[in-house]
Symmetry: C2
Amino acid sequence: MQSQTHPALALGVDVGATKILVGTVDRGGRVHRSERYAMDRNSTEAALASLRGAIAGFLADGGTDGIVGVGFGLPGLTDSATGTWVNCTNVPIPSPVPLAAEMMERYGLRAYLDNDVHAATTAEIAFGVGRSARHFIYLNVGTGIAAGVVADGRLIRGALNYAGEAGHMMVEPLGVLCTCGQRGCLEATSSGGGIIAQAKETALADPTSSLYEAATSGRLTSTLVFAAADAGDAVASGVATRALFGLCYGITSLANLLNPEIIVVGGGVFADGWLLPRLQKFVGTYALRNVRRSLRGIVPSELLVDQVGLLGAASLAWEHES
Amino acid sequence: MQSQTHPALALGVDVGATKILVGTVDRGGRVHRSERYAMDRNSTEAALASLRGAIAGFLADGGTDGIVGVGFGLPGLTDSATGTWVNCTNVPIPSPVPLAAEMMERYGLRAYLDNDVHAATTAEIAFGVGRSARHFIYLNVGTGIAAGVVADGRLIRGALNYAGEAGHMMVEPLGVLCTCGQRGCLEATSSGGGIIAQAKETALADPTSSLYEAATSGRLTSTLVFAAADAGDAVASGVATRALFGLCYGITSLANLLNPEIIVVGGGVFADGWLLPRLQKFVGTYALRNVRRSLRGIVPSELLVDQVGLLGAASLAWEHES
């Protein structure tokens, strides 16, 4: 019988632009307890107070008993070696924050940091597709787009720990203007944020579009756009087709470049099931023959969408404390 | 003093579509002797006879004394685990060729196989840019386009040892028809073969183009196209601009995805110096800020262009025999 008392736990801290999820996760990827907190990003002080408050609030119930280490999944750039949150575009972090040092000082716990997509990919390595594949790509298409590249079971982190910006692969010369300042990035055409922005702009100029009401009231979603496209709405068809082809080109490029065994996808834009079968068909037809031979599939992540960030954060601690 | 007699040597066999370069290379990357042989690819039998004859011819002078192992850099798909040349589109290899077993049987030498761009990248790791960088991309733009991705000092080989087909990243939706059957691949717009094919097609339709004579006589080169573009020829400008922007988009995508310290370029299309400064300027402007911060440069390979294939082949043996 497995002991029910005092299993070793990692504390995961999944930091997003609007919420912070804190929880304890065991070595097998089981979430023991988790709590959600709001992120106030009106100022640097407010954001850091949100983060410190969330951790203190969670630990107020039970303390650090049984916790072997802390993992932070953070938006933006992190420095794993120094345990520092370096910078971020979605949360006001103008100068580096030494989170690992702070956790050691306050709680006597070792802490490990990485960005959110690296954390999610680490969760896939430990608890998801990585259990059956050594070469895979994790692609997240939500508000933005990012990827984790895994070769020989190891996440590619890059020179500055910034590898994975698949949303800024360029899929359409002189295409849609991206938040990064360049035109034609995958994220601009095919992310949730990109799809909504394009649909809004086009629908507001065309009151006959079935998306017009949603556009005026700020209720557009990628699911609405895909459904309207299937119903024959011209505005929606244009946006959905452009989003689809961006991802077709982007994923085919990733597959041809990296020769993965499997591509695992996550994020809200895949949730309604519209994109995936179309992408599977395109990549299964147009990727190089030897690449298709070894690609077992493009599959949804088996990790629960509301847990993957927390599992990822915790798995950063398990990478080092196991 | 270094001994001048009997240094340990690897035998490198660099197999191309039209020639075979065989040579001995020491542990430090110095070529001791090399010979060039013709590749007859009119039939499978002729191609394999060329390869066997080249090795036998080279070893006729000196035998296998001092040779610790053999490395083969081959076009197409190889299986490193079994030492087999699996398939190829440029040389007629319809069924797998067990080259490692053959080398052991004939010469009592262990042999290691990989494809040509993996071999060249292995040479960069051992003897080139890898001496000062752990995260880099080697990009070869010659007749075709291929890349080696190095993370943490290790070459990413992929599920079927086929990683690196950067020429089949898609940079232009519905663009130029590629030899792979898809439209818009980087190789179709920006490789030497692609540049020549586009220039030929366009120039033959326009006798006023300064490229018309070269197009009719089959003397087109990428250097001619770039020079004619600089001189204001409209046909050449169109082709050169398209080639340049394909590489700008492709390299920016690679940099954003993989966050390399350095991108090292090789291959004939870079030889005249036209492309590189333009690419440096684009990527230095449009790659993501954190990516630019950590990218030390896009630089020409320091390895001699007529030696890199041989060094690469030999370095495959040094990977295992050192």
